[in-house]
Symmetry: C5
Amino acid sequence: MLRIMAVTKDHEVLLQPSVESLSDDQIAWYWVDFTHPDEEEIKLLSTFFHFHPLAIEDCLHFLQRPKLEYYQGYSFFVMHALDSHSLSAKEVDLFIGENFIVSFHFDELKELDSTWNYFQSVRDYSAVSPIEVGHKIMDKIVDTYFPIVQNIEDHLLDIENNYERGNKHSLIQQTFDVRGDLLKVRRSIFPMRDLMYRILESKRFMISEHKKAYFHDIYDHLIKLSEMIDSNREMTSDIRDNYISLNSYKMNNIMKTLTVITTIFMPLTFIAGIYGMNFRYMPELNWHNGYFIILGCMTALGLSMYFWFRKKGWFDQE
Amino acid sequence: MLRIMAVTKDHEVLLQPSVESLSDDQIAWYWVDFTHPDEEEIKLLSTFFHFHPLAIEDCLHFLQRPKLEYYQGYSFFVMHALDSHSLSAKEVDLFIGENFIVSFHFDELKELDSTWNYFQSVRDYSAVSPIEVGHKIMDKIVDTYFPIVQNIEDHLLDIENNYERGNKHSLIQQTFDVRGDLLKVRRSIFPMRDLMYRILESKRFMISEHKKAYFHDIYDHLIKLSEMIDSNREMTSDIRDNYISLNSYKMNNIMKTLTVITTIFMPLTFIAGIYGMNFRYMPELNWHNGYFIILGCMTALGLSMYFWFRKKGWFDQE
Amino acid sequence: MLRIMAVTKDHEVLLQPSVESLSDDQIAWYWVDFTHPDEEEIKLLSTFFHFHPLAIEDCLHFLQRPKLEYYQGYSFFVMHALDSHSLSAKEVDLFIGENFIVSFHFDELKELDSTWNYFQSVRDYSAVSPIEVGHKIMDKIVDTYFPIVQNIEDHLLDIENNYERGNKHSLIQQTFDVRGDLLKVRRSIFPMRDLMYRILESKRFMISEHKKAYFHDIYDHLIKLSEMIDSNREMTSDIRDNYISLNSYKMNNIMKTLTVITTIFMPLTFIAGIYGMNFRYMPELNWHNGYFIILGCMTALGLSMYFWFRKKGWFDQE
Amino acid sequence: MLRIMAVTKDHEVLLQPSVESLSDDQIAWYWVDFTHPDEEEIKLLSTFFHFHPLAIEDCLHFLQRPKLEYYQGYSFFVMHALDSHSLSAKEVDLFIGENFIVSFHFDELKELDSTWNYFQSVRDYSAVSPIEVGHKIMDKIVDTYFPIVQNIEDHLLDIENNYERGNKHSLIQQTFDVRGDLLKVRRSIFPMRDLMYRILESKRFMISEHKKAYFHDIYDHLIKLSEMIDSNREMTSDIRDNYISLNSYKMNNIMKTLTVITTIFMPLTFIAGIYGMNFRYMPELNWHNGYFIILGCMTALGLSMYFWFRKKGWFDQE
Amino acid sequence: MLRIMAVTKDHEVLLQPSVESLSDDQIAWYWVDFTHPDEEEIKLLSTFFHFHPLAIEDCLHFLQRPKLEYYQGYSFFVMHALDSHSLSAKEVDLFIGENFIVSFHFDELKELDSTWNYFQSVRDYSAVSPIEVGHKIMDKIVDTYFPIVQNIEDHLLDIENNYERGNKHSLIQQTFDVRGDLLKVRRSIFPMRDLMYRILESKRFMISEHKKAYFHDIYDHLIKLSEMIDSNREMTSDIRDNYISLNSYKMNNIMKTLTVITTIFMPLTFIAGIYGMNFRYMPELNWHNGYFIILGCMTALGLSMYFWFRKKGWFDQE
Ligand SMILES: [Mg+2]
Ligand SMILES: [Mg+2]
Ligand SMILES: [Mg+2]
Ligand SMILES: [Mg+2]
Ligand SMILES: [Mg+2]
Ligand SMILES: [Mg+2]
Ligand SMILES: [Mg+2]
Ligand SMILES: [Mg+2]
Ligand SMILES: [Mg+2]
Ligand SMILES: [Mg+2]
Ligand SMILES: [Mg+2]
Ligand SMILES: [Mg+2]
Ligand SMILES: [Mg+2]
Ligand SMILES: [Mg+2]
Ligand SMILES: [Mg+2]
Ligand SMILES: [Mg+2]
Ligand SMILES: [Mg+2]
Ligand SMILES: [Mg+2]
Ligand SMILES: [Mg+2]
Ligand SMILES: [Mg+2]
Ligand SMILES: [Mg+2]
Ligand SMILES: [Mg+2]
Ligand SMILES: [Mg+2]
Ligand SMILES: [Mg+2]
Ligand SMILES: [Mg+2]
Ligand SMILES: [Mg+2]
Ligand SMILES: [Mg+2]
Ligand SMILES: [Mg+2]
Ligand SMILES: [Mg+2]
Ligand SMILES: [Mg+2]
Ligand SMILES: [Mg+2]
């Protein structure tokens, strides 16, 4: 699907002109948006726009990383929009020239749709140019990163707060998932940050000083997002390491309980077992107080074991 | 709430002049402090001061990271003051121009209040300018970092010293909390350090050589705080890893005890169990010395097991 | 084996001319490919081509790392082609001069064969030069990296998805193998990326602006591959750490089960053992309700233990 | 306490002149050493020497990090001397100007005392200046680092060598202490190295080419110490990780022993327990060979278990 | 021991001339090699050669790190030769001037001996100068690193390949030793690489373009060795982490076996123990089918436990 808008030299907006009419003298600049284009439409990239084969290849083939490449007459941008649910990256390609901007993406994207709608009804087109359109697209894409990363951060703070009570195993599973999600969004956000830095430092992609503040604002957001991501990944390691320390402590206590019970009762049961044997001649069985003597020995042995553990510090609060 | 002070060209101080009077010719420079401002007061940022929309947006919206941004006629600073108890960051925004300084913050802050009081009663205003006010605010903010980080460090040294005795599990929990606290304050202190570096290297925000030493002193403190934070985070990892090593050693000892007791007594109890069976015909039961022979076998078996463990080094001091 | 092709000044291609004829005036440039050469052929590197002894040493001796070295009249490249199955690196050496390209490799390589075939039947040789040949070889080599790294990534995603069900131990073994594979391909791909960077920044190995985009495309792929490799290695650590957390959790549950059963039944069995002893005089045995009283005591003791564990939180869902 | 020495323009040394006499024309340069000064002496820093308030603040207040700061007419150095036993840092501050050096420290320090004694009796004062004194102090301070770090390294090598025999738990505790000690000395030595680098690169603190070799020698030592520290910290991690692997291996063996004994004898004891029951009618008890048949079954069962473990590889040497 | 050779201006070689004769006009350049020199010989470093005290100090005192230092008239190099068995570093110091090279080392070294022998019988001395001698020594030293690092790598590949079968504990011990060996050789090889880089970048130690390729070849080897070392250290971590994962998996299986056996048989043995008690009045004992009913209950209980474990997934293949 193609969406086309053009602005004339009189600052009038033309909605959905034909592609061919875009060569018209009267047109100051235009924006053509390719959304999930079919084969016919894709051909226009070379037949009408004469874009470089490498750039067209990047549009058509698998997920490229965010980047900026200069060609004769235009700059080519690859951006990643993030899907709020799956956190998958959706590629958005922009060709920005002095008097045109062409956006290309295989997915339907709210960021593009809302930017499109925004520019349909601007009051004063004299302050609008392809760079403004490009900035707005980038701005909206980066703005959608924030709820995503903040949700991840909120999830992590919930995990930390619920740590004391709650189902720890489930919390660790969630921590592992959060860590994976952070790694996933990091693969898009870090290159987007580096891309924005290149755009700001660029000598070839000229942005006026006045407009630079607006691009710098996007870069500023990307820096903050990068710091949040790294800080949160650090937090997931800490949660996981604390879980392992806690488990190792609990395991010790469980094993101590098992060992104390076994060490006290197994020898006592053995002694009882001896006197349960059926040998015809077992002298002690005939002693009148034999039973009580043996009970006394068992009690003494049991208590000795108990005090031995106590002396070794096994009952100290750890 | 607005607090306003102005200094005239005669170096006289005016306390709480009206906002409108600040345009007066006689005024050399002024300081307007917005503390938890209401909607009316917030409008002044654009209607009176004509600050850039992006800077105003930064003041009003969620926690920005510490940064410095240049605008026409003024520099815009975002700083983090740290709350001593929660360790949360409180944003303080400063607009510093050649003859004004505007501070903006949603929280009541001691650092701002004490700076305000300080500048109410300076003896000689000829040496005071917006830069001095800005420096003092930054200085007080950074000074409050020290007790916070030093308390964390002292807590950690206590944990290390109490390690041998004391409730280890509770100590590990505290170590984990300290590590989280360090991560928290790091998210404010590291960007504040980078900000101070930018201020010192700045060509646009001119500080005279004489005053640079005072800003450099703040930067010096931030470097030291950064080193303390990283060194202390390193220490928390070491404490946690040592705890895990120690637990693994103790667990081995517990398991060895359990295994020695079980390996010695379970076969002996089995033998006793055999001779407790009620088969009508069990030859050994009728032997006159059967009981003693079996007791002897049991003793021999028990001692063999004991020596076997000893030979395998299980009783060696580890 | 030697494969030779030459292009004349009239843009005609000569297939398999003799080595000696390459000095001919009419020849604009030539490509000589050494595939698994024998001793006689190897001598040509010095006797005919007069290549530097160090470069020849690099061709002949063990696996060199990817690099670029400048010599008088030509640049010497070492590249790694990766074998899809073993992931082993196969060295490919290129000598590229203004009017020749010599490729040298001990292994049969599809990348070289397909490039050879490509250049046998180009329509217009006026746009072809040694640099085009060199680029195509590099392009094909790097193109074969993608399926390799993507297969590894797909394998890893399968492991993650099958994690919940499935044979976890086998999955961890596979994770370990994947991590080793990533380390292996990393040893070739990272230096290839650095090499491509040097080629692009090179002042000595001149590539026209027009062609630079094609080399930059290869570099772009290598950057993406490097990021995929590092991100996937990060993922293998995460999978392994999660496995260890999960095991530690399961181990706790297993040990709790063992300890609860043992702590409840061992004392009860001991009591039963006492009353199984054969002492002639054991008062309780004669009580009419002795059996039921003891059964009652055992039940009470067993239930106490059960509730003690419950109070200590051992049955809480973790 | 103040120690003062001055050298006249005739290269004569004056020992313990008064502070006031230091302004004398005849004096070429002087050294004033403040050791644990009282309040009166401290005032001299401002009243006589007119040092900058920030530098004086650094002398008086808590431990500063090693650094170099330039002021009008002198450079201000903060250094750390290390205490051989506690490894604590002792601050030494130096003010070095063209014709004076003032050293300030709250602790008694051998490094200062031996430097003082050295300069009391130099034969030829014509080659001595404040820079020589400063160099000697730095040199002695850094020289005392070596025995400290080498002792730590020797301790670590002992731990490694005694690893096979010896009390492993105690060795791990020592490894943990060594790691903490390395972290402690690192906090002084790394900044001292960075300071020495700044001194060498400094354009403001001029050292003649001839003397630079002597400062470079100190820097060289600090580089080596830094490498030793990092290498040794790496070694402590390796020792600790190996200990954990070893424990995990031993734990497996202990558990296998326990499980084999339990799995073989518990079912056998149960069978013996069945035939120890007192039911009036238990057919097998009356079989003439019942006892031997059951003993045979038990033996078969026990051996089956044994072979099952063997087949599962439990007895393989791991 | 001193070995001396000199080359005259006529390109004649003099073997073992006296030290004093080296000042002779006729001599173009000379090489003096100090092998394990005695006190008299050591004095020559200052009395004859007038080398700088700091450089002489470096020769005489403990192991210096590899470095390059410039002095008036010569450059001073410290190199590390590695002992193939102990992997210890042996220091080799070189003083290289325009017309001399002095080598100094306390150990007998094959690298020096073979270089010495090589230069005794060169055919054409016109192409030989101190720099050639220095290069050859460096080349031979670095060449001996390769077998050392490759042996370590081969050892590691053996460990990986034997992992499935074989004595895992012994393999982990070997992995730990390999890791320690890598750390040891890294302490010499990394600084040697940085030294070689300095030599190549050096403006003071002039190497002609033609000869630079030969020094660059050594640097190239050192880069490859560094990459091998880091990659192999990474591999040792992976092997160790996999061992720990594997152990944790096996431990789980061992514990499951123990717990299943205990949970099934301990309650059954208890029940048998109840009916082994000797109370005079125990109703069930008199039931005609009491024995079979209890056997049935036990079977039912045992099977329930078995199915409970099965339902909980304990028998699933992990
Ligand atoms: Mg694409
Ligand atoms: Mg935005
Ligand atoms: Mg915005
Ligand atoms: Mg939030
Ligand atoms: Mg997920
Ligand atoms: Mg903003
Ligand atoms: Mg804000
Ligand atoms: Mg301060
Ligand atoms: Mg202050
Ligand atoms: Mg403190
Ligand atoms: Mg906390
Ligand atoms: Mg200070
Ligand atoms: Mg770990
Ligand atoms: Mg080769
Ligand atoms: Mg390609
Ligand atoms: Mg291609
Ligand atoms: Mg894929
Ligand atoms: Mg493999
Ligand atoms: Mg591409
Ligand atoms: Mg101080
Ligand atoms: Mg020294
Ligand atoms: Mg010295
Ligand atoms: Mg030593
Ligand atoms: Mg200590
Ligand atoms: Mg030295
Ligand atoms: Mg030496
Ligand atoms: Mg070599
Ligand atoms: Mg060689
Ligand atoms: Mg090999
Ligand atoms: Mg070793
Ligand atoms: Mg080579």
